[in-house]
Symmetry: C2
Subunit: 462 residues, 2 copies
């Protein structure tokens, strides 16, 4: 009977004392003169299964010497091992070699640094830590889809190629099919982008929000989940040039509905991963971040706090803490401030709302006070900001003025403005950086270690 | 009690004869002197709900004149309408205006061409056809995730930025942060890409397959689902510069396992969409493609045929058909040939396998005959090829030779070759173009009409 390690762990009784067939890779192996033991992993489950093979095996000598990561097919009987650490093992009657490895296999049985592992990104998912990271990444991605789809949200693929610069950040990647060594020029000796693939200058998107708004005004509740790009020259543990983002957008909804949605989502996805990647999460809690479960349970079980930016600034000023960046109303909060508020004041997740308009994007709704906008950032202990969002400006004239005030051209935003002209509604949304979420849920501290093949400044291997 | 149109259709009894609150957009409206009728849609469901309002309403005159697509909040009682076409309606006691529209709203109640609708992509999801298309797109995307996740596949985000050209097609988009009007040059006057963001030439990916293979050799079963890019200068109804692709990759598996997976997937996702987007699918069957249900049922209920390329060529030659492209062994099959095989010969979906090696990619496994490779294309009636895949070449020396034969440099593929060195296994995979799948399942015939904001040659609006 064909089996996988996952099927055996999930339904042991079905396979116990049966003749089974398994395929997988050798994680470790050792032998004495009469016996050999292989820890086999077949990729379906975090844990290995032990294979015992005996001298009587026709190819005993060859199996015994197989280099790590060789792939084999095993036939044998699954038996319980009441006296051993593992609950069961397979007594092999036949082992067939599927693919040889060599002694140069870079993942020999010793500790490797995460830095080294990045140089073998094609092999690192075979190592425990990364195997756990990328399975959690997959389970988390699914949890996000499940959360939104079960609530009737429509998944929108917003475009990657864009002519606009939604964040006004300017740090974008240009895309072109022009011959760089022979660029077409206009009469005034500038590059002639009308000759380019799209007939104009095109960049890679930094957000799908504006397009998501168009769809929210048709479907009420929508979300995006796709790659976004920043050409930021920051070589930090939290920045990548290419990362995935989730951006829900909800119509007939205000900033409070938005916070409720974010809170519900965070609790749902954490619970889902804890339940559906148990072994991996235990590994992280034991070996990567000892306080992980406590921190995540705290999120699941707490009511998220809410505080305005203005109140937060007051608290920080009165705190008596020595901050590297002294706090003044009008400044953006730094990670040290964010962590103080969530870790010391609220001891849990907290939304900070109503930031000064000058430090937030043009599309955020202007509050009555004319000084703040209906922004909301979710701060969590250990990290700081994990979600940023806002109620959107739905008033045509106010939005138009804000576009102008931000030095942008309303012409470029004609369709975005039209959304306010033809039956606009109150609406809101937020962005969750997917990699930040993976880091938060696994306790991994470098973004390069939660992306299968990370792309950062001066680095795009594989 | 708050309600949505979806909740009312799903659980009518709960709301019947109750005071309810609804929010949505006016799709159509008409009135006589004493009564008014609004067809309201709130985005949660394909169908509208009828709102009846009476002269007694305080703002009767204003509501009566609201332009299409204005957004309103309705309070009223849900009542059955046994004599009318619709099963129920809402007798409004209060209608509040949330957002005005104007008489210039481009989607007035008349037929518009799909070409025109592309010029208002920000509004077209408010029209029936596109509302149905983009909801089906969302449901289909979820069905794909559900299918793979339920089977234990790991979802891998393969990189968008790439230094390699996996298909050898050469039609890629270059990405850069260099100043085009002031490009840095090397000593021999070529563009100096070492000064670029990644320190070298980078393109947008055309496939995630090679990276997915690395993960399949750790997890056994994986899949990708992400955007891919082709800078093909083809202005056809089937080509876009940016489209999404699904690429499963399975280890310890051959071409037959691969075909079985593709067949299971196709049946699963079609069934899922038929069940979870019923109203939309009925709309397509009635108004877009009259033969749709018959065609899809045929796929769900049939065993997919299997035929080798060589046999297919024989059949085509003997068919007596007048093809635009005469058939010879060695040539790639054209759509006319593919459709003949699936529509006339098999009257259903069919896998064509074992194509001449010259017309297929370097990574496909060379067959014993040394002339063909273990490729598989799935052909379906009405479309032709919808899936392309293969068993991969797992033999290191054979793969190395094929890379050289294809004029590529083995050095560039060092990590891909290493996958064959360190415990390689038999493995296989395929690609499904997501937009092709949406077109197939909805009957829509232009790829521009199934992408929220399509990007094609000379066109990247919004």
């Amino acid at each position: 009977m064909k089996a996988t390690i996952k099927s055996i762990y999930n339904d042991t009784d079905k396979y116990l004392n049966q003749q089974i067939e398994l395929e997988g890779w050798i994680r470790t192996s050792r032998s004495s003169k009469a016996f050999g033991f292989i820890e086999l992993n077949d990729g379906t489950f975090f844990k290995n299964i032990q294979i015992v093979f005996e001298e009587g095996l026709e190819n005993f000598k060859e199996i015994e010497k197989l280099p790590l990561s060789s792939s084999i097919k095993v036939k044998g009987i699954l038996v319980t091992t009441p006296e051993a650490k593992q609950p069961f093992e397979v007594k092999a009657s036949e082992i067939e070699i599927e693919g040889y490895s060599t002694a140069e296999y870079p993942l020999q049985k010793k500790r490797h640094t995460f830095e080294y592992m990045r140089t073998i990104a094609h092999l690192r998912p075979r190592a425990n830590t990364f195997n756990a990271v990328f399975r959690v990444r997959s389970v988390l991605a699914y949890a996000i889809h499940k959360f939104f789809q079960e609530r009737g949200f429509v998944y929108v693929h917003t475009p990657i190629f864009t002519a606009s610069d939604a964040e006004g950040a300017g740090e974008m990647f240009r895309v072109s099919t022009l011959d760089f060594n022979n660029l077409p020029l206009t009469e005034d000796k500038k590059v002639d982008f009308s000759k380019d693939f799209f007939g104009k200058e095109i960049n890679l998107t930094v957000t799908g929000q504006l397009e998501a708004e168009a769809f929210a005004l048709a479907y009420k509740d929508v979300y995006t989940f796709g790659p976004t790009f920043r050409a930021e020259n920051s070589n930090t543990a939290r920045h990548a040039a290419e990362f995935w983002m989730i951006e829900p957008e909800i119509a007939f909804a205000d900033i409070n509905d938005n916070m409720q949605l974010a809170e519900d989502m965070m609790k749902y996805i954490i619970k889902y991963v804890m339940e559906n990647a148990k072994e991996e999460m235990e590994f992280f809690n034991n070996f990567v971040d000892k306080g992980l479960f406590e921190r995540l349970q705290n999120v699941v079980n707490s009511d998220f706090g809410r505080i305005t930016y203005t109140e937060a600034v007051e608290l920080l000023k009165k705190s008596g803490e020595e901050f590297q960046y002294p706090v003044e109303w009008g400044m953006d909060l730094q990670t040290e401030h964010e962590r103080y508020i969530s870790e010391k004041v609220f001891k849990g997740p907290v939304f900070v709302t109503d930031y000064p308009k000058e430090i937030k994007a043009f599309y955020m709704r202007l509050n009555e006070d004319n000084k703040t906008v209906a922004a909301m950032d979710l701060l969590v202990p250990g990290v700081g900001e994990i979600i940023g969002g806002s109620q959107r400006e739905e008033r045509l004239e106010v939005l138009e003025q804000k576009i102008i005030d931000n030095g942008m051209d309303p012409e470029d935003y004609w369709w975005y403005l039209e959304l306010r002209k033809f039956g606009g509604t109150k609406h809101a949304g937020y962005g969750l950086g997917f990699e930040r979420a993976v880091m938060y849920i696994t306790g991994m501290s470098n973004i390069r270690d939660v992306i299968p093949f990370p792309r950062t400044v001066k680095s795009a291997e594989f």
